[in-house]
């Protein structure tokens, strides 16, 4: 069982982030990610139901820690944004671990029906996203939320405090940039 303290801390940090404190967001992430690692380890030991995906695990971990029984819609958007970051980290670790175990370079199908890009590695997307962050961190964040977290434009707009149309435009332009970056890697 968790003590009250990490719970309270998580809620306080969430509040801080909602008020615009980026440092609170990072501390919240660190706190939750440690928790996620423990849960993932438990899953690998077979203690968890097998149908739980990494996504489920991430959601559960956050829910458990923040103990939100009724999620305010702004909380919900921030919750999902946090999930996106954790998903990205957890999936990349997962892909790397699998690759190490298989000792070969495992390609995953990033894009179907697109012969000119073919298979990209989730790792490659990750790297490209890091480079996009150096050009424009906000566009990288939008991609992270959308591609890794499955978030809707409206939710992303809440988190970034932007209009929906702005988010949509930036998502479209970021996708062009990433498309080029991934093509370049594949050549």
């Amino acid at each position: 069982m968790l003590t009250r303290t990490p719970n309270d801390e998580a809620r306080a940090l969430l509040g801080g982030w909602r008020r615009g404190d980026r440092a609170a967001r990072d501390r919240l992430f660190a706190l939750l990610y440690a928790e996620l690692r423990q849960a993932a380890a438990a899953m690998l030991r077979g203690e968890r139901h097998v149908s739980l995906s990494i996504g489920d695990l991430v959601h559960e971990t956050i829910l458990k820690l923040i103990a939100l029984d009724r999620i305010d819609w702004r909380d919900r958007a921030h919750f999902m944004a946090l999930t996106s970051t954790m998903m990205r980290r957890a999936l990349i670790e997962h892909v790397r671990a699998k690759r190490a175990a298989k000792r070969d370079h495992m390609k995953v199908e990033l894009i179907t029906n697109l012969p000119d890009v073919g298979n990209a590695d989730l790792d490659e997307v990750n790297d490209a996203l890091d480079r996009l962050a150096r050009v424009d961190p906000q566009r990288a964040e939008i991609v992270e939320m959308r591609y890794f977290g499955g978030m809707e434009i409206t939710d992303i707009a809440v988190v970034l405090n932007l209009s929906e149309s702005t988010v949509k435009r930036r998502w479209q332009s970021a996708r062009l940039w990433l498309y080029e970056a991934l093509q370049a890697q594949d050549v």
Partner: protein, 787 residues
């Protein structure tokens, strides 16, 4: 924030430039970029990136990463289904593709496993209860729910139709035409309307929950995952009400504030979807007005039904292609109405034509707004046309048996007109009076207790509310105006009956009836309308005493009413509206005699009523309202004869009444009043047969009556009056079952009746009459049942 980004590199500048270009239509983006005053390097970089558009659109699908990481092993089976793949993953959980594990037929399904914690316990419980309803929700635009259950680990899952399609966002990205967007919206909204009629609220209407199948048809998924329409009362397991799940941006403000979902919150979400589908610089002002009305912050300001929203969109859609045509449409329409009056028999088809024609007129009117002088004239045109539709065409159509559907179409179109009229704060006094009368009229079509309506009582009630607000305001402004006093008095007299029979509120009924009497008696010159409404006020006031079990009180008021009618000048006394109220007064005063044991007097009064109604019906050539009144009078007479022990006479009277009711139901299958007439006569018929020892016929009649009332209660949206009708029907049927020796059926009916009645009694919402005459007898009879 958009401002704390690092200094713009070449790429960052190019990306910003592309952002600007994205506001342009796709074929002029390149030209737009070339026209911007930026450095050559930035421009070339932007153009290079833009050239990648065709390929980039499909990469990085929303939420694509987890599914592509091959991370979690697929479960082998879920319930009776073999899992064959993972379709997607979202906030709610994971969706798998599956097949029936038994493999007896090829049947691909989508299985949604709901993530632990995604639904509150109360919501899971409610979902479990509602699954049967959802499974019956068969509509071409709704992804069918097949099954549901829980995994071994206790996660709820649902098994849905597998839709071979793409998300609405992708469909929209392909740039469909304006007409295609509106058609898609109309189809999706029809699915929501269908669900509402089946008491299911979607709760989360968003583009993400609308798929487009290979044929281009929308399919709505995730129906009813949020609260069902009937769940207005919070379940005890969810004391705070459940916020459930909803998507920001598409969720109604009251949902965000924590209120449960409702048909009105679905209408809001549909409005947002419509706005989203028609986004862009070209949206017409009328379409914007439709979106604004659907998405009004105050639920009371929205369209009251999805059908009303659809009717507006359809009218606009129909009007669009003729924008090049000039004026004169009012004239064409008037000609059309003139023709139509001669051929109201083909009511349904003609009504839909009327709707289309009316849409053209509205569109024409709105366009004319640009030229002010023309607009004035056009407004008068529309007003005149709509008025003739409300008051002339409507009346003609109403006389045709089986015309309820046609009248609904007319009424819905008329509401569009009324809403526009009522929304104008500067409308002249007469126009506002017209709007008030119009809402009154419309409410009666939508759902009054008197029959001839569609049984949509809650919608009807909302319309009466608007009528009352408008007329009260007018009366306060000009208390001396006789036309306003007449309209308000008539409305209040009518609403007294609604208060009593739809809401079971005898005090409100009495208050409204006395106020109506005051207004109507003070009129300088009585008319058939005022005299009819006045007599009706006496009738409902008397009924309100009866409701409170004060039978002598009721009798006194009925006699006063009969005296008022007798003292009227002959022309008024013989008028239709007065005859209507007289028929009721005769029946009810007969009931008072019956109650006090004066059987012969009772039978005589009721025979007088039957004779009156028969004569009226013969004169009105099959008018359905007189048909209903004749049935009601036969029912009362039959009941009185039964009480007097004249069983053979009672049997003949009731069989006569029921035969007329059945003929009416055949002509008008959607008429709630016709169905109720069969149930009403059937219940007394069952008692008469039971008393004669014909138990098989008695049970059959009781079964049918209960089945009809159950259906009516469902159709009414759980309206109190309809549910009380069901409870009383069950009670009466139980006595018949018991005498036939069917104790099990009797006890089952009593239990169900008690559940309904106690539900209201526990909330202190049951009248004294119902406590004494229904709940108490049911409780007593139940003591003989094993519990």
């Amino acid at each position: 924030m958009s401002d704390d980004r690092p200094p713009a590199s070449l790429d960052a500048q190019a990306l910003d430039l592309i952002d600007g270009a994205m506001d342009q239509p796709s074929d002029s983006r390149e030209a737009w970029i070339r026209s911007r005053p930026v450095s050559e390097a930035v421009r070339d970089r932007a153009l290079t990136l833009l050239s990648l558009s065709p390929g980039a659109a499909a990469i990085l699908p929303t939420g694509g990463a987890p599914g592509l990481a091959g991370e979690a092993p697929l479960p082998e089976r879920i319930g009776a289904y073999r899992v064959t793949g993972r379709i997607g993953q979202g906030g709610m959980g994971t969706v798998y593709r599956g097949e029936r594990a038994t493999g007896d037929f090829d049947h691909t399904v989508a299985i949604k496993v709901i993530r632990p914690g995604a639904l509150s316990g109360a919501l899971v419980e409610r979902f479990r209860r509602e699954r049967q309803t959802l499974a019956r929700l068969a509509h071409p635009n709704i992804a069918r729910l097949f099954d549901g259950g829980e995994t071994a680990a206790g996660e709820p899952f649902i098994v849905m139709e597998y839709v071979e399609g793409r998300p609405l966002t992708d469909w929209l990205a392909a740039g469909p035409s304006d007409a295609a967007r509106l058609d898609l919206f109309l189809a999706a909204a029809a699915a929501v309307a269908f669900a509402h009629q089946n008491l299911v609220v979607h709760g989360d209407v968003t583009p993400a929950n609308i798929l487009v199948d290979a044929a281009g048809q929308p399919k709505l998924i995730d129906f009813g995952i949020a609260a069902p329409a009937t769940a207005a009362a919070p379940s005890p397991a969810a004391p705070g009400g459940d916020a459930g799940i909803h998507t920001p941006g598409f969720a109604a403000p009251e949902r965000i504030a924590g209120a449960p979902s409702s048909t009105l919150s679905d209408i809001y979400s549909l409005g947002r979807v419509l706005g989203w589908l028609t986004e862009g610089g070209r949206r017409a002002p009328e379409l914007s007005a439709i979106v604004a009305r659907a998405t009004a912050d105050d639920p009371a300001d929205r369209y009251s039904t999805v059908e009303a929203l659809r009717a507006d969109v359809a009218a606009w859609r129909g009007g669009f292609p003729v924008s090049a045509a000039g004026g004169g449409r009012g004239y064409v329409f008037r000609k059309f109405v003139g023709r139509h009056r001669l051929a109201v028999g083909a009511a349904a088809t003609a009504a839909s034509l009327l709707v289309a024609a009316f849409g053209l007129t509205l569109a024409a009117n709105a366009r004319a707004e640009a030229a002010r002088a023309e607009a004035e004239a056009r407004f008068e045109d529309v007003r005149a046309l709509a008025k003739s539709m409300m008051f002339d065409v409507y009346d003609e159509v109403a006389k045709v048996q089986g015309s309820v559907d046609a009248r609904l179409k007319l009424a819905q179109t008329a509401q569009t007109y009324l809403d526009r009229l009522a929304a104008d704060p500067h409308a002249p006094f007469d126009v506002r009076l017209e709007a008030g009368e119009g809402y009154f009229r419309l409410g009666r079509v939508m759902g009054s207790t008197g029959g001839g309506s569609l049984g949509r009582r809650e919608e009807g009630k909302a319309l009466y509310g608007r009528a009352e607000a408008i007329l009260e305001r007018l009366h306060a402004e000009q208390p001396a105006r006789a036309d306003v006093s007449l309209a308000l008095g008539h409305l209040l007299s009518f609403l007294a009956g609604e208060s009593l029979y739809a809401d079971g509120d005898s005090k409100a009924a009495r208050a409204r009836a006395t106020r109506a009497r005051t207004l109507l008696t003070a009129l300088p010159e009585p008319s058939d309308r005022s005299a009819g409404a006045l007599a009706a006020a006496y009738l409902y006031e008397g009924d309100s005493y009866g409701w409170d079990n004060d039978i002598p009180g009721a009798g006194r008021v009925y006699e006063q009413g009969l005296k008022i009618v007798a003292d009227l000048p002959p022309a008024l006394r013989d008028s239709d509206p007065v005859a209507v109220s007289l028929s009721g007064l005769l029946r009810q005063s007969g009931n008072v005699y019956l109650h006090t044991g004066r059987i012969d007097d009772a039978v005589a009064r009721m025979q007088e009523g039957v004779a009156l109604n028969r004569a009226r019906l013969a004169a009105a050539e099959g008018d359905p309202t007189w048909t209903r009144r004749l049935i009601a009078s036969l029912w009362s007479l039959g009941d009185a004869q039964r009480e007097a022990g004249r069983l053979d006479a009672a049997l003949a009277t009731l069989q006569d009444g029921q035969a007329i009711a059945r003929a009416m139901a055949v002509r008008s299958p959607t008429d709630a009043g016709a169905a109720e007439s069969i149930a009403l006569t059937g219940l007394v018929l069952a008692q008469v047969q039971s008393a004669r020892g014909a138990h098989a016929q008695a049970v059959a009649a009781a079964d049918e009556a209960v089945a009809i009332r159950r259906q009516l209660a469902q159709r009414s949206g759980g309206n109190k009056g309809s549910r009380l009708h069901l409870a009383v029907g069950l009670k009466d049927a139980a006595a018949v079952y018991r005498r036939a020796g069917r104790t099990g059926s009797a006890c089952g009916a009593l239990r169900e009746s008690r559940t309904i009645l106690r539900g209201y009694a526990d909330r202190d919402d049951l009248s004294d009459y119902d406590r004494q005459n229904n709940l108490q007898p049911v409780e007593t009879d139940l003591k003989a049942c094993r519990t």
